[in-house]
């Protein structure tokens, strides 16, 4: 099967799947409305909080392991292991942040009673732990990468970090950024379609669809503009 035929086949299948989903959801709309949408959103919030807590604990473990490795001295044999360990710890805390934000935003416990207040305080502490963990992990990463000396408290830290990276690190960063962009460009239409289908349900409106389309628009504009700038005006792009 040629790639062209396969492309149109996938396109056709997606259209059919979308149509089926629309009709199924339309038929189930009344029964789905009986289940409170708010309840589902709040339940997702609690699950997010639980996942964030697990990720933070695992990240702490990796951070301690990385710290121990560095403390015992880095050599050619354990450098890659230390680097990988710190990279995992860093990624886990980054992933935990949006989950915690959502969990706190959807927190419904009463702050008038002690238990509610304690729960909220725990979530706040978890958020702070993740922020401080990121600072600590970045400082630990700088021990492995002494050529990157940008202060973690600098408001332009990300740009300075990128400027101070050498060629292999830049290649990794560029490849990761490209892959993540490609993934997002595939995911935006899927999420947009899901929100379009859900917009008919009670508790949902067209607002989530608008937000997704807006993010999609900003992302694709930013990608296109920067690609144009780097290709045609490289001196401006490096500023």
């Amino acid at each position: 099967m040629s790639k062209k035929v396969f492309f149109y086949l996938v396109l056709g299948l997606c259209a059919i799947a979308g149509a089926i989903a629309y009709f199924v959801l339309d038929a189930l709309a009344s029964s789905l409305n009986e289940i409170s949408t708010e309840y589902i959103l709040l339940a997702i919030g609690r699950v997010s909080g639980a996942i964030a807590l697990i990720l933070t604990i695992i990240s702490l473990g990796y951070y301690q392991k990385g710290k121990r490795l560095i403390k015992h001295g880095i050599n050619d044999e354990n450098y890659d292991i230390a680097n990988r360990t710190i990279c995992i710890a860093s990624n886990l805390t980054i992933v935990a942040l949006p989950l915690l934000f959502y969990c706190i935003a959807t927190y419904t416990g009463s702050i008038n009673n002690l238990i509610g207040l304690i729960c909220l305080a725990i979530l706040g502490c978890l958020l702070l732990i993740n922020i401080f963990m990121q600072i600590k992990i970045t400082k630990l990463a700088q021990v492995l990468h002494p050529e990157i000396y940008a202060s973690v408290y600098d408001m332009k830290f990300a740009k300075k970090w990128n400027d101070q990276m050498d060629e292999a690190l830049k290649a990794i960063s560029e490849k990761a950024a490209f892959r993540s962009s490609q993934l997002m460009f595939n995911i935006y239409p899927i999420i947009a379609l899901i929100f379009l289908l859900l917009s008919g349900l009670e508790g949902f409106s067209l607002l989530p669809l608008l937000v997704v389309c807006l993010l999609w628009f900003i992302h694709i504009c930013s990608y296109g503009y920067n690609a144009y700038l780097i290709e045609n005006h490289p001196s401006k792009a490096t500023k």
């Binding site: 050599n75 050619d76 450098y79 890659d80 680097n83 492995l144 990468h145 050529e147 990276m165 050498d166 060629e167 292999a168 690190l169 290649a171």
Partner: protein, 71 residues
């Protein structure tokens, strides 16, 4: 076509670690590690710098499959 290299072997001959070699050619330890593992193909500039440090030709450090020339 994969690019092979003898960076690890030549570095061992000089008796220096990855960090020291990285400092000599102006890159990080991670870059040297990635080159040695064959996960990263260096720029021409870095390849020339490495060859200069090892005091050999660039082709001695980096070679394509079937072109290995044991000097």
């Amino acid at each position: 076509m994969p690019l092979y290299n003898r960076v690890k072997e030549l570095r061992a001959r000089l008796n220096i670690n990855q960090q020291e070699l990285g400092n000599m050619v102006g890159v990080s330890r991670q870059t040297i590690s990635q080159i040695e593992r064959g996960d990263y193909n260096p720029s021409i500039l870095l390849a020339l710098k490495l060859a200069h440090v090892f005091n050999v030709s660039c082709e001695t450090v980096f070679y394509l499959e079937g072109e290995f020339d044991d000097e």
